[in-house]
Symmetry: C3
């Protein structure tokens, strides 16, 4: 299925051809931006200044919302954002799915949404009059994060196929981990995880995925170390059963782990990083740490995705 | 009085010629957008990308703020929004009217404001150095909502003149009802209301307006059913005197009322709809319910209004 | 040092040539805007619609954020704003300096920041991959405010050199006062202050600066009266030692002070003004009060600064 005019909600929608197209365009954008500080002239179009990207984020976001807005701006589009609808229409009694229906009725060219688990909203966004991009939905998926992660792996490791990607931490609550599992395996990578028992993933997709209990062994195995944020806001009502100090003791990636990690490996994290919990400050200064490269790549990957969904073609400069 | 360069604060400013111009332009925009997904090329101008729409909303808004921003973006303008100034300058001790004076001093091309009843602000916005559009002021008026409502009536009923519009619910606190009463009667419609005693309108404009106590009879009379949100945030200190369950019993429009309503009638609501209070979920799925069409039309009506206030002319494509 | 491609964090970075260039360009912009309601056509460039101004404000702002956004919009740029990151990434455990690093990694053309005193952030913003403009940092500096203040003095007093500028009020906590002291003295003005003992400035820059204890004498001395907001939010843990009523008694500028003030003098205030505390309502209506002119000038001064930092040249219309 082509992405043109469709919604993008899950990594599993992407064919090999889609991924190639997104990555090749993101790469063109990044290279051209480094040279000319702009990418809009690469789009075959009379200008996108009439195009509207709407963003409706009912969970906090810094990176993802800003990244979509910068991506849209670099293409020449305009963005309009509704943060925290719970402070406006939802506080007056509107449901989240009705908020989505209303913003979609304003006919934006694309609408990006983020929200916590909500089966009514899940059903609604499949049936709206404009294409939707998931900006992260509950604990299920965050597919543009997976795209930028895979793009970053390809950039620094040369390829995704055959890479050994270790996901460390709160896998259970991570939509990033779910989207990455699907995408990275489709691209031929091996995925494994290392998590405290309480954070082990439970859904079917993770059945049979290799897991490590010892971070040292896991680190020696991996070519890519992807740490996840401990998502305290999704632990409501759960007895996590260990302290942050115990978590750090076994799952924080610090100087010791770096010594066991291959010199040409890379470290990733979807952000925000909680310094001292998932990574030591030392790790963030290591040249193998590509956390800010992920952020830079996110803009170009999202610009590529948006332009493809809008059916736009590019020309080489 | 022409709208060019003037503020738009009340439905009663509109001459018949103004209304014709706004509706004809909104209709042109909507038709062209359906064909080409853009309207900016209809404006006779070298481009509006230097034009600035400022929005200062000191009450929560989803639909109205986003609709103005999308309308501005579709014309090619830029918008800058200040939501909840009470969290910024007002928390430091500035008055709302001084906030308006300050933003107006930045010389936006148009400033859209929303705020709760405030006589100092009412006086101030009449004397600012840029044109103002009311995005809803206290319980007094919300004139762009009335315009999009009338436009939607005309679209689906063919005309406004002679239509019988029933306004149901919390009329007392509704700026939408006030603006609609003025505009719809000026356009030749009959307006009536059906409200609990506690929500009956008290200001002079409503003297002599037909009212119904029985929703069944009222529904049989009407060609247009316009339900209003029960505005709990404006009931502070008032003893409403009945429960939401009692309200629903007598004033909720549900399947029963629909059976009494003419098959070619339409249902409207300014939003946000509180499902199960003003409308049953069943009503929202009825083909006569035009709530999302109102939202779509809002963008084109506001784009028409803004472009007229800016003195811009249009060309047919 | 040229401003092109550099960050702008302190008034003391500005050479006489820089100041001349900023003021001459701001003046060109203002004059042209008064004639044509636009300034973008003065920029020698194929258009700036692909340029991105990012704003990250972790302290409340009305004037400064909106002013930068309007300035960017008038130039034809797009802006993306992150207000209150403490509600998003920082609430999840990210440090403010990591938030800055992340937004900078999205490669905006310029990033404007505001935050409370934070030495880690101070160090970080000196080493980011995009130029930074201070939009006000803790109690240290707010250099674009000083620029617009000096521009306003020049506009209404004809020059800055030789002017006698009296700063009244909470000098101790004022980043505006610090930036103005540096800039105005560099431009040849005399600066003095009049403040309660508890609000006297303590840092080295203020050593030897003339001070008045009597507002009447001070007012007679001055050609420019600059009142400061009493910044209660920065008094945490301090025993200010007097009541607001006592403050008003001695330091509020009202009708009495105006009588002692020269008829061709001007009154300034960075805003928000707390009516009745720093100025009486009477003062705000005096024709010598240039508070809203400061706001208007702020847009043109910031547009000039941004365009110079981006290395853009202007042409006369």
């Amino acid at each position: 299925m082509s992405l043109v005019g469709e919604s993008f909600l899950s990594s599993d929608q992407l064919t090999e051809k889609d991924i190639d197209q997104i990555f090749s365009r993101a790469s063109l954008f990044k290279t051209e931006f480094e040279k000319k500080k702009r990418i809009d002239h690469l789009i075959k179009s009379e200008g996108l200044s009439h195009k509207v990207l709407a963003l409706v984020f009912s969970e906090p976001s810094t990176r993802t919302r800003m990244s979509f807005q910068v991506a849209g701006a670099r293409l020449g589009m305009r963005s309009v954002a509704l943060d925290n609808p719970q402070n406006a229409s939802i506080s007056k009694g509107e449901t989240l799915e009705d908020t989505f229906r209303n913003i979609a009725a304003m006919m934006p060219d694309i609408m990006v949404v983020r929200y916590n688990s909500n089966i009514d909203a899940d059903a609604t966004i499949k049936d709206l009059p404009c294409p939707i991009i998931s900006g992260g939905i509950g604990s299920s998926e965050h597919p543009t994060q997976a795209l930028l992660d895979a793009f970053t792996i390809k950039e620094f490791r040369g390829k995704v196929k055959g890479e050994r990607v270790l996901i460390v931490g709160d896998v259970l609550h991570s939509r990033v981990a779910n989207s990455n599992l699907i995408l990275l395996r489709a691209m031929g990578a091996e995925v494994a995880y290392c998590a405290p028992a309480q954070f082990e993933p439970k859904n079917d997709a993770w059945k049979g995925v290799q897991s490590f209990t010892n971070l040292k062994e896991a680190t020696e195995w991996a070519t890519v170390l992807m740490a996840l944020r401990v998502q305290k806001e999704r632990h409501a009502g759960e007895n996590v059963g260990f302290s942050m100090a115990e978590y750090r003791e076994s799952f924080r990636i610090g100087g010791d782990q770096l010594q066991n990690f291959r010199s040409d490996g890379i470290l990733l994290h979807p952000g925000p990083v909680i310094r001292g919990v998932e990574f030591s400050a030392f790790v963030l200064n290591d040249k193998r740490c590509k956390v800010l490269d992920q952020v830079t790549n996110g803009v170009f990957v999202r610009a590529a995705l948006i332009s493809i969904m809008l059916g736009l073609e590019v020309q080489h400069a």
